[in-house]
């Protein structure tokens, strides 16, 4: 419970949207309507994180089928989503 409360207030994560990957499904806008919306072209727009928590941002990014939302932990500089895969062995 304590951990969850801590995450609720944490503001360590940054968000970037990759519009060229967006297919307009709108999972982000449905989940965090104050943070994301679909514009006139039906593609993602990011309005700033507002009062969304780190965990809410990460969970929303994971709902995007096309990995159009990138979440980075700014403290550790680790990209949390999408997962960075090592190159496949040739």
């Amino acid at each position: 419970m304590q951990q969850s409360e801590k995450n609720k207030d944490a503001l360590d994560f940054s968000v970037q949207t990759e519009r060229h990957k967006c297919q307009g499904y709108g999972e982000c806008a449905k989940t965090l309507p104050n943070v994301f919306s679909l514009d006139a072209e039906g593609l993602v727009q990011f309005h700033g994180r507002g009062d969304a928590s780190d965990q809410e941002l990460l969970a929303t990014a994971r709902r995007c089928p096309y990995k159009a939302i990138v979440v980075v932990n700014e403290t550790t500089k680790e990209q949390l989503h999408p997962r960075v895969r090592p190159p496949r062995p040739k």
Partner: protein, 434 residues
């Protein structure tokens, strides 16, 4: 249930289709099983549709990067697509993920092709872009491993795009052979040599075998007297012409299975409208007086390019067999680039009157084909007679034959070619007189 499955197997797979069509095709008659036997249709898919060059669309339908049209090669759904590099590719219209039909709209523009089932996306060059929620694939997926499958051979003649499901075989140039000269008579009716299928499209399904349509489309001089009497009498009363004037035409069989009704010998009086005069002047300046006379309105040949493309009076027409007794016909008016607007308007009005949804000719024809398909189910003499003009048929060494208007040498030639294709002989020509 068992019976249902057996019917599906008969109609849609190649299983057990070791059917010899040779005995069913005699010099002057053909057997009705060729139109009605599901096993023969399955054999056609395997021996014919999966091997020969099949018309799939025209360049003018997909002018921009990302433009596509959805078509079928017999029962195989395909996608004709112009990539960002301007190159036309033909893909099998199935997702590499779970086999769903990738694209279900008839035509459109897509920078990204997205499967409706699980959302996988592909580039207009066919590469896999995004397998959705792909964290579940531990090492990720290689784009190349899941690229859309391309139809192996694609080529075009004057913008007409043909594809072959077979990686090997004769070239499109060999397949078209002498028919190119007649196709040129269509395209050269434009002073810049280009035709655009930009005026719209009408599609009709008829409950009949696909082979009935080219037979019907290329013998209009004969059946026209009967099934199109009303339309022809009406046209003659308006124009002051006599339908019999057209009967100086010649019918050609060309090696490769192609048929032509050639109106160059026919004397057709041109109406002296300003647009017609300006148009004829354009043609004479571009091609010279002699060739221009062959390109004049009313002189365009009726052409069948084996196995599924036709040009008839106003339009390119192609067929896609959906089963042994069901066929899709697509009519697309051919607009001439660079002509006075009135010339194209005349073509469109004629097209609507003859082949549009309320047109006289197409509805007559398809109704007759459905009745024939129904009637050949009955017992009795199973043979259909094709003996017109057989006594005077002139056949050249390369297999070309020519006959008078209303003769059936061209249809007999097509059946002889069909017999060779169905027996595995892919050569374009007879290799000598039949």
């Amino acid at each position: 249930m068992e019976q249902h499955i057996a019917m599906m197997t008969d109609g849609t797979t190649r299983a057990e289709a070791s059917v010899e069509v040779g005995p069913l095709i005699q010099p002057d008659r053909i057997h009705s099983r060729l139109y009605s036997d599901p096993a023969i249709f399955a054999r056609e898919v395997e021996m014919l549709w999966e091997r020969v060059w099949v018309y799939v669309g025209h360049e003018s339908e997909i002018p921009n990067a990302g433009d596509y049209v959805r078509r079928q090669i017999a029962t195989r759904p395909i996608l004709v697509l112009r990539g960002r590099d301007g190159k036309v590719c033909v893909f099998h219209n199935r997702c590499r993920h779970r086999g769903n039909m990738l694209c279900h709209r008839d035509r459109g523009n897509a920078q990204v092709i997205r499967c409706p089932y699980h959302g996988w996306t592909f580039s207009s060059e066919g590469g896999l872009l995004e397998p959705t929620f792909d964290d579940a694939y531990e090492e990720g997926l290689e784009s190349a491993d899941f690229a859309l499958a391309q139809v192996p051979r694609v080529d075009n003649y004057r913008g007409l795009i043909f594809a072959s499901l077979s990686p090997t075989g004769i070239s499109l140039d060999e397949h078209l052979g002498q028919a190119k000269m007649f196709l040129d008579l269509i395209f050269d009716r434009s002073p810049v040599g280009e035709v655009e299928l930009s005026a719209g499209i009408n599609k009709v399904r008829y409950r009949g075998n696909w082979k009935m349509l080219p037979e019907n489309s290329l013998e209009g001089g004969y059946h026209g007297f009967f099934i199109h009497k009303f339309a022809f009498d009406l046209a003659d009363s308006r124009s002051g012409r006599d339908r019999m004037d057209f009967h100086d035409d010649a019918v050609w069989y060309l090696p490769g299975g192609h048929m032509v009704e050639d109106f160059r010998p026919v004397g057709i009086k041109q109406q002296k409208t300003d647009a017609n005069i300006a148009y004829m002047k354009q043609l004479e300046e571009r091609y010279g007086a002699e060739r221009a006379a062959h390109l004049a309105p009313g002189k365009a040949p009726i052409i069948f390019i084996f196995p599924n493309l036709m040009y008839v009076q106003t339009h390119f027409r192609h067929l896609q067999p959906l089963g042994v007794d069901e066929t899709l016909v697509v009519y697309q008016p051919a607009m001439l680039k660079g002509v006075p607007e009135e010339i194209n308007q005349t073509i469109l009005r004629q097209h609507e009157g003859s082949f549009g949804p309320a047109g006289f000719l197409a509805s007559d024809d398809l109704e007759i084909l459905e009745r024939t398909q129904n009637a050949i189910k009955t017992d009795g003499n199973p043979w259909l007679f094709l003996g017109r003009g057989i006594h005077r048929e002139a056949t050249f060494d390369d297999g070309t034959s020519v006959g008078h208007s209303m003769d059936e040498n061209h249809i007999r030639g097509m059946w002889a070619h069909y017999t060779r294709i169905m027996s595995g002989d892919m050569a374009p020509a007879n290799g000598g007189a039949a």
